[in-house]
């Protein structure tokens, strides 16, 4: 598979010093707590892909699509690596390469969708279109920024983003107690 767009970033990828500052505020990392889900981790993977040291896989593609595009990684990078732009381009490469990804993208439950088109009109990234021929909402997986707007607006609960939190309520309460003055 050819990573045409990734190659364009060749001269930027090695500028990353792998300090890890980008993952301080990363929502995905906060949820999964795996370094391979951090912006730094993903940049490392892209560096390996660029140099053909690892094969692109569904697992990896999904990682690259797991991102809420909040841009905090960009903001915290003083080496000025345009993290989000790089990821967006590589997502397009993965789609061109035929990868079927879920990531944190918004989806449609066809059974519930009434094709009202509200999600199409509210999507500020123009990631959704109503294909009249197929009578179907089509999602542009590169344009979708996982903002959740469609999910919030959908009157029939058909638009959704999958999510999960890996902290149990008990663990959370223990921490809050400690912050409030110790045991």
């Amino acid at each position: 598979m050819e990573f045409k767009r990734l190659k364009e970033w060749k001269d930027k990828l090695h500028v990353c010093i792998r300090c890890g500052y980008c993952y301080e505020h990363c929502h995905i990392f906060k949820i999964t707590n795996w370094e391979s889900d951090t912006p730094r981790g993903k940049l490392i993977l892209l560096y390996a892909l660029l140099h053909e040291e690892i094969e692109p896989t569904d697992y990896m593609a999904n990682k690259i699509f797991e991102c809420f595009n909040c841009g905090r990684c960009d903001a915290s990078c003083s080496a000025k690596v345009p993290v989000t732009d790089i990821f967006t381009d590589v997502r397009a490469d993965f789609i061109d390469g035929g990868f079927d990804v879920k990531g944190t993208l918004s989806h449609i439950n066809e059974d519930l969708c009434s094709k009202c088109g509200i999600c199409v009109s509210i999507c500020k990234y123009e990631a959704r279109t109503l294909d009249k021929e197929q009578n179907k909402i089509i999602i542009d997986k590169v344009k979708c920024k996982s903002c959740g707007g469609c999910e919030a607006a959908c009157p029939s609960g058909a638009a959704y983003i999958e999510e999960g939190y890996m902290v149990s309520e008990k663990e959370l309460l223990e921490q809050v107690q400690c912050y409030l003055g110790g045991k």
Partner: protein
């Protein structure tokens, strides 16, 4: 690692806490250093018992285990040079107890420094070592590296904030070191031995740390210098004149330019600046110390000195300082800031000479280097800025690193002030500590007879850091000169 081993680890930790996909292994094979090496598997324990069980599995099978916090180490300490298990401790991130009466806090090793300080702040106390990387660095990693930071000149390095800890040994046994009291004279200070051990002696699974009151007043001063040497001389005099200060940081012109370029901080574009700070509970006391530092700066041709008690301004400047290492990658297009010969310490009286020497060595070897650091604690940071895609630049860097360490040793300095040895600094470290290496090896053997804890580091690391592991940069097949 075979399937059976992976299944055993999954049995201990749960399927979701074991990863052996090549993508994950690749990521966990590097840190903030120039090195990389693939582990066989990454595991993520949540409890002390799970750590013990992993060790009990690995030890008889001679499987290397490399503890990992945030992977922000700069010398390849967390890079699994011999493969094996990388043990990611970031999920052990609970603050277990804040004891205000006895002035200590008990934490799991994966607690992030800034998170700890956020939790302590409402109680008007803080944990002071705080490296620049405090936003991600974990307490376990800080202890294992004896990290220090901008305020270490007054409050000491991590080793000065430790009261005790729990450690899982190579064979899975759990030991309690230190105490919860401020003083302890109960035999060997084994907790101190863990400090700076870089994961080679045991896995730190809990730490008891002391905290100190947040001072009511902090005053930050910035002085400009047209000669780096003048700034160095000011440092020597400030440090030898009995001033009680809480910070003294140097930034040379390369560092200033990089930070301004990357962060638009508006620092004065001069040869060097000194940032100094005094803190205390009484403003008069702070004023006196700051004034004395100001006068010394002036005496050494410092000018344009600005003082500020404003917490917001201090945070703005500090955040720039904290982002200096990555910002240095901005200095020249296509260049990267590599963590090489990055954190020596030299006697105060040699600061000026060292700063000058660093630039001289850089010039002679076709690389760009910068001189900055927590100079109040004797720390002189450098970094090598180069185009890492060029093979020839690695040869240049190698020569520069060698010359710098030789020089530092010749003036009575030391190889690492706070970033640790890992792989990158092993050769210089071995030369510096040649008379105690065998003792260190004997200690390592007593703690870890099967040599499974982060093997191939410190005294056992290869001498040539360029070939010790794969470099994490790929050089172009045809050198682009």
């Amino acid at each position: 690692m075979g399937l059976v081993g992976i299944e055993r680890l999954k049995g201990i930790l749960g399927e979701e806490n074991v990863k052996d996909d090549k993508a994950d292994l690749y990521v966990y094979g590097s840190d903030s250093s120039v090195h990389e090496a693939m582990p066989w598997v990454v595991v993520r324990p949540h409890t002390i018992e799970e750590v013990q069980n992993v060790m009990r599995y690995a030890n008889p099978r001679m499987i290397p285990v490399v503890a990992r916090g945030a992977g922000s180490g700069m010398s390849g300490q967390a890079v699994p040079i011999k493969g094996g298990i990388v043990m990611d401790l970031k999920r052990m991130n609970k603050i277990l107890e804040i004891n205000l009466e006895d002035t200590y806090v008990r934490v799991e090793p994966g607690v992030v420094d800034d998170d700890l300080n956020r939790a302590l702040k409402p109680h008007n106390v803080f944990y002071p070592p705080t490296p620049a990387s405090s936003r991600i660095a974990t307490i376990g990693g800080e202890i294992a590296n004896n990290a220090s930071g901008v305020r270490s000149v007054k409050y000491g390095a991590v080793r000065d904030s430790i009261l005790g800890m729990k450690v899982v040994m190579a064979n899975g046994d759990l030991i309690n070191l230190g105490a919860k009291t401020r003083v302890e004279a109960t035999g060997y200070q084994l907790d101190r031995l863990m400090v700076g051990s870089e994961g080679t002696l045991g896995i730190i699974v809990e730490a008891t740390l002391k905290f100190v009151p947040i001072p009511k007043y902090r005053c930050l001063g910035i002085a400009k210098f047209n000669e780096l040497e003048d700034a160095g001389n000011a440092i020597s005099e400030i440090m030898s004149s009995g001033i009680i200060l809480s910070m003294l940081e140097l930034m040379d012109n390369v560092a200033i330019k990089a930070v301004n370029q990357a962060l638009d901080l508006g620092l004065p574009d001069v040869e060097a600046i000194l940032m100094f700070e005094a803190d205390g509970m009484a403003k008069e006391g702070v004023d006196i110390e700051v004034k004395r530092m100001m006068e010394i700066c002036k005496k050494h041709n410092g000018f344009g000195i600005e003082l500020s008690y404003d917490a917001k301004e201090r945070t703005r400047i500090f955040s720039g300082r904290k982002k200096l290492f990555p910002a240095l990658s901005q200095f020249k297009e296509f260049y990267s800031c590599t963590s090489l010969a990055d954190d020596m310490a030299v006697p105060y009286s040699k600061m000026a000479e060292t700063a000058k020497k660093i630039h001289e060595i850089a010039k002679r070897n076709n690389v760009i280097m910068t001189a900055y650091g927590h100079c109040g604690s004797g720390c002189m940071h450098t970094k090598i800025l180069m185009d890492p895609r060029k093979k020839s630049q690695w040869e240049d860097a190698k020569r520069a690193v060698f010359e710098i360490y030789n020089y530092v040793r010749s003036v009575g300095g030391t190889t690492s002030a706070e970033h640790g040895i890992g792989i990158s600094k092993a050769a210089a470290f071995k030369r510096e500590k040649s008379d105690s290496l065998n003792l260190m090896r004997a200690i390592k053997k007593a703690f870890d007879p099967n040599n499974i804890l982060n093997p191939g580091k410190l005294m056992d690391a290869p001498d040539d850091w360029v070939t010790a592991t794969s470099l994490r940069y790929r050089t172009d097949p045809v050198d682009i000169q």
